[in-house]
């Protein structure tokens, strides 16, 4: 039976409006024929043209996407394992190590990772950035997966075991599908965190690597030109396209079963 509550609908719609209000401005102003992001002057595609001629910006965008993909995949895998372990077993160290990166001020994490990477002689660049991102993304995935597991019906798993499934088999066929929405939610959060991170990335990028947040931060002073709006808009669309493609390959992952 479908419950349609008017209040629920209204509240949710308002929430979407809240989420999209700044975005509308970002997208609309990317077509604004004015260097300032203040008033609407006229329609133009100039900023998109400028964007595609801006090699540095494009490199930065590519770097951010690649780092984001790798970081979210790895941190989702590790985070799911962590979330499951925290749910299943009595652990003391792991929960702290999982929550701490979320709590620690980014600037401390950035500086400490820089000191550490220099200490172990790791070349600073895209790899050091990715390693740093994974570290703070694991926690987000773990917490979501753990909460999704809370209150899970163990009898299904037990039944599977009784029928002869191995622990891994039971996990793969029963538990994982059940927690999949949590895993995907975690992955989405991890990806978002990674492509938007500034502080930690600033410290762990070397003299070569530039990510989109770093590049955009540099443009912030001289009146954020609509070129930045253009790259933001395109980044969103590109990511959306990637997700749509991925969901065709794994349909229904977010809906769970």
């Amino acid at each position: 039976m479908k419950r349609r509550s008017l209040w629920l609908w209204a509240a949710a719609v308002l929430a979407y409006v809240f989420l999209y209000a700044p975005l509308v401005i970002v997208v609309v102003y990317s077509f604004n024929d004015s260097r300032l992001n203040a008033q609407w002057v006229g329609f133009t595609l100039d900023w998109y043209r400028k964007l595609f001629a801006d090699e540095e910006m494009l490199t930065a965008a590519r770097n951010s996407l690649v780092i984001g993909l790798v970081a979210s995949i790895v941190s989702t895998a590790l985070g799911t394992m962590a979330g499951y372990a925290m749910y299943r077993y009595k652990l003391r160290l792991l929960p702290i190590l999982v929550v701490a990166p979320i709590a620690i001020p980014e600037i401390l994490m950035g500086v400490s990772l820089l000191i550490f990477f220099v200490g172990i002689n790791l070349t600073l660049g895209l790899i050091s950035i990715t390693l740093a991102h994974i570290a703070f993304c694991i926690g987000f995935v773990a917490i979501v997966v753990r909460s999704r597991l809370a209150g899970m019906d163990e009898s299904l798993v037990e039944a599977a075991r009784d029928l002869g499934a191995t622990p891994w088999g039971a996990f793969r066929l029963i538990t994982l599908p059940l927690i999949m929405p949590g895993v995907i939610a975690g992955a989405l959060m991890a990806f978002t965190l990674s492509i938007d991170d500034f502080v930690v990335t600033y410290f762990t990028a070397g003299a070569d690597a530039l990510t989109l947040p770093l590049k955009i931060y540099t443009m912030v002073k001289i009146s954020v030109t609509p070129e930045v709006n253009a790259v933001s808009t395109l980044l969103m669309l590109l990511t959306l396209a990637l997700i749509v493609v991925a969901s065709r390959l794994a349909p229904g992952a977010l809906r769970g079963r």
Partner: protein, 297 residues
């Protein structure tokens, strides 16, 4: 039994190892820094100091901690940040819960899209989104003009919305909203509609169905979302910097200044330690409380 222990290690070890190497060890370096002196020009002073007569002294101190505990200003800022973080979490919950509920109850084929729509805005750039809020809340904004004419009808003076604590809260809530919605959704999605049907058959009203069935079941999601909003919001600095005007400084700003303008890494470490430990303690307390509630339920 042995199999269980083996599994525990197989599953728990990879994330544990990763976090030990790429988080715990670097952080411990900075924890150690909180006991050291700041370098003359920046960074950290050496741990061992050679004196003229050839002996070495251990250059460690508790003065950084003493400074924190002897100065009410920093505790004040902690409390202020705590307040902002609580406000942010509450509003994120109020706004995010209906949203998550709607998505969870939508037909299966719509859910993917609706969830994506929640997080899509956050794949643009953080700064751009915040600057967009500067436009929305700024003096030339249509929205602000409308708001002011509304309150003008009530006889109040026109207000400035930008560069106020209000703007800071709006920014904080906006930036953290998906981290409340996604965990909540992940939890609400698995609620069995049959439970609500049964409650309705027993005569429960819509509100009762929500308050006595849905909400308690969603508590793990609420706590997860709450943690993922409160903890980062507690230490953030960018939003107060951009939207806060002359007010709205939070402890995150002070910590940033220690590492930059003041070049006082040890003190920055102290503040960071206290921030982190407070956040972890709160998270642990909430988790313990949640477990207790579930045990009693």
């Amino acid at each position: 039994m042995r199999e269980r222990a083996l599994n525990k290690w197989l599953i728990g070890a990879p994330p544990l190892l990763y976090l030990v190497v790429f988080f715990a060890i670097p952080t411990l370096i900075m924890v150690a820094a909180s006991f050291r002196y700041a370098g003359d020009f920046g960074g950290l002073a050496p741990v061992f100091e050679r004196s003229e007569d050839g002996g070495t002294t251990l250059n460690l101190t508790l003065e950084n901690y003493q400074r924190f505990f002897s100065d009410a200003l920093y505790a004040q800022l902690f409390l202020k940040s705590f307040g902002y973080a609580v406000l942010t979490t509450v509003f994120c919950l109020l706004i995010g819960y209906p949203l998550a509920m709607l998505i969870a109850r939508s037909p299966k084929r719509h859910r993917d899209l609706l969830v994506l729509l929640v997080i899509l805005p956050f794949w643009s750039n953080f700064l751009i989104r915040v600057y967009a809020w500067m436009i929305i809340l700024g003096p030339q904004s249509v929205f602000v003009a409308a708001f002011n004419s509304l309150i003008g009808l009530a006889g109040l003076q026109p207000m400035r919305l930008l560069f106020t604590p209000f703007a800071v809260v709006v920014g904080l809530v906006y930036v953290h909203l998906p981290f409340m919605v996604l965990p909540l959704y992940a939890n609400l999605e698995k609620h069995d509609p049959a439970l609500l049907d049964a409650a309705q058959d027993l005569g429960a009203s819509a509100w009762q169905r929500f308050w006595r069935v849905t909400f308690p079941l969603s508590l793990p999601g609420v706590f997860a979302g709450g943690a993922l909003v409160f903890i980062p919001a507690f230490g953030i600095f960018a939003i107060p910097d951009i939207l806060g005007g002359t007010t709205g400084i939070m402890i995150g700003n002070v910590i940033k200044q220690q590492f930059l303008d003041t070049r006082d890494w040890p003190f920055g470490s102290v503040l960071s330690m206290i921030l982190t430990l407070t956040a972890i303690a709160l998270a642990a307390a909430t988790a313990w409380y949640a477990r207790r509630e579930r045990a009693l339920a």
